[in-house]
Symmetry: C2
Subunit: 328 residues, 2 copies
């Protein structure tokens, strides 16, 4: 386990005013980890704490304790310490810069590849970046324990949510012993898994489930690839929007024998947003990159312009090639 | 935590031949727990171990280590010890009786209400019945630790599967500190969450996802109730059967604002099998019981004869009454 530098702990202990920021398009790990750190610092007697998010807090995360404190604009004046959580570049925060005496990073993503971002990372005062951690929430838990902050029910609820989201309910390969031991301590401290689950996952708008039904009816499969499509017509028919189909790509992925799943979302008449998922054999980040997108080896995305037929032809050609190359 | 009786441990230590049985319609907790105990006893040097299941092992559980040893008929002759796991009555095993010198029960369900079943339970040699345990797998883990059996990767894989299934990925209210601590030890012992998940959940037949799409298009909602229907026509169109729609009721349950979800599966022209799920306010066991069915407070089922319209009218009338009585 990566050690927390004494410098990082000293900055958190000695600073009096804080700015805590997660990443754009925030999910449970980003929001939950930011709020847990804010609550922990408050328990340490800190009074000036701003939590900011460029993008709105998703509806299903508004139940998180203290989520009401999140603001979408930078506070005026300079803070003693800015803390970036679940990201390690300014770009990912959605803001251009922070007025802060010191900057700290707590993250579990790989370090950025671009020169500008790497330069920013090297300029920060202290960091805890551990790609081996299941969630940023695991790292915030480590930091709070190192600061001797008691983990109360509010903190535990935020962090259990972070862990649940990033491990897919302790199903993904990042479900490490540490993540489960942390989860154990969080439930012991008062996190209530079913109450969290109801708010987080059992709160899908009626229209969203209707859209899922329509989209699943387009399911097709060929050569280890399965895909579904959501068209503009379906959005119109159900009164839905892009936010209603965030996990749709999981459904073709669950199909037996499938190596790669693709979700095609029609953004404009001749523009499709693709979500790609791999079960391990193909690196879909490379596929997405070939079309100007990005992501991870197992989950990536890109946009392709053209008719649906044309877009599918182009991406399937590249995918089939990758599948052949990794063929068993 | 309930103590394991020394008598139970002595029976397992001293017996030389074993019969291990789970329940009918077995799922991950039943099969995984039976296999884990069998593997553990084998590690203790026991040679004569039969694991039996009245019903076939579901396709998505055949990956479980040692699942090949499961038989569907009783072995000839008498064994020293029969062990019932994840059930506490003969009826639930699907067999009428076992030829065994001693019978042991390891279960986490409430004890049976019927006189005959209660009499059977009182007749067994030893039992560990703890309704506070998240899964039978947690109890088998406790027993194996008490017997000083080393937890190897095969045992850990069976037990992690048991826990994952019964806690819904550590989301349900039974996701106790003990269940998470056990999961921590299992992953440390070699259980691989993503590998298990791929076999368990990412192996849905193509036709099953097609059927889900058709069924979701029937989604309706009224007065805190949401429901979907799968008709005989849909089964025929997709070449599917009842086993392909086991978790369909989860989808109406996830709809925002819903208190009770109902899944109607057409079994015959005028016979519907209902699955009911409650988010907490209504005890759906009572509803199912009113129609001759059964289950738990949060998950129950029954069969009702009639046209779909008629069946829905009847069950919704009872449900609306229950919702009014518990109204807030």
């Amino acid at each position: 386990m990566m050690k927390i530098s004494s410098k990082l702990l000293a900055i958190l202990k000695e600073s009096r005013s804080f700015l805590i920021a997660g990443h754009i398009n925030p999910e449970g790990d980003s929001i939950g980890s930011c709020l847990a750190l804010a609550l922990g610092l408050k328990n340490l007697g800190k009074k000036k704490i701003s939590v900011i998010s460029k993008d709105p807090v998703p509806e299903n995360l508004k139940f998180l304790p203290a989520s009401g404190i999140i603001r979408h604009q930078l506070p005026r004046g300079e803070v003693d310490a800015a803390v970036l959580i679940d990201c390690n570049s300014m770009e990912r925060t959605g803001f251009s810069s922070f007025k802060a005496k010191k900057t700290v990073i707590i993250d579990h993503h790989l370090l950025p590849a671009s020169t500008a971002e790497a330069r920013f990372f090297q300029s920060v005062s202290a960091s805890l970046v551990d790609p081996g951690a299941a969630a940023a929430g695991v790292l915030v838990y480590r930091v709070l324990k190192a600061l001797n902050v008691p983990i109360d029910k509010k903190i535990a609820t935020n962090l259990y949510t972070a862990l649940l989201v990033d491990t897919g309910g302790f199903r993904y390969s990042n479900s490490s012993p540490e993540s489960l031991k942390t989860a154990f301590h969080l439930v012991k401290a008062g996190a209530m898994p079913w109450s969290i689950t109801k708010d987080l996952y059992e709160n899908i708008p009626f229209r969203g489930v209707k859209l899922l039904g329509l989209s699943l009816s387009t399911l097709e499969r060929k050569d280890g690839i399965a895909w579904i499509t959501t068209t503009k017509e379906m959005f119109e028919k159900t009164g839905t929007s892009a936010g209603d189909c965030e996990d749709f790509v999981d459904f073709p992925r669950k199909v037996k024998g499938v190596e790669v799943a693709v979700f095609f979302r029609q953004a404009e008449d001749d523009l499709f947003k693709l979500s790609l998922r791999s079960k391990g054999r193909v690196n879909v980040q490379k596929i997405a990159k070939a079309f100007g997108g990005g992501g991870h080896a197992a989950a990536a995305g890109c946009k392709i312009r053209g008719s649906l037929e044309d877009v599918q032809k182009r991406v399937f050609r590249v995918l089939r090639k990758a599948l052949t190359e990794t063929g068993r």
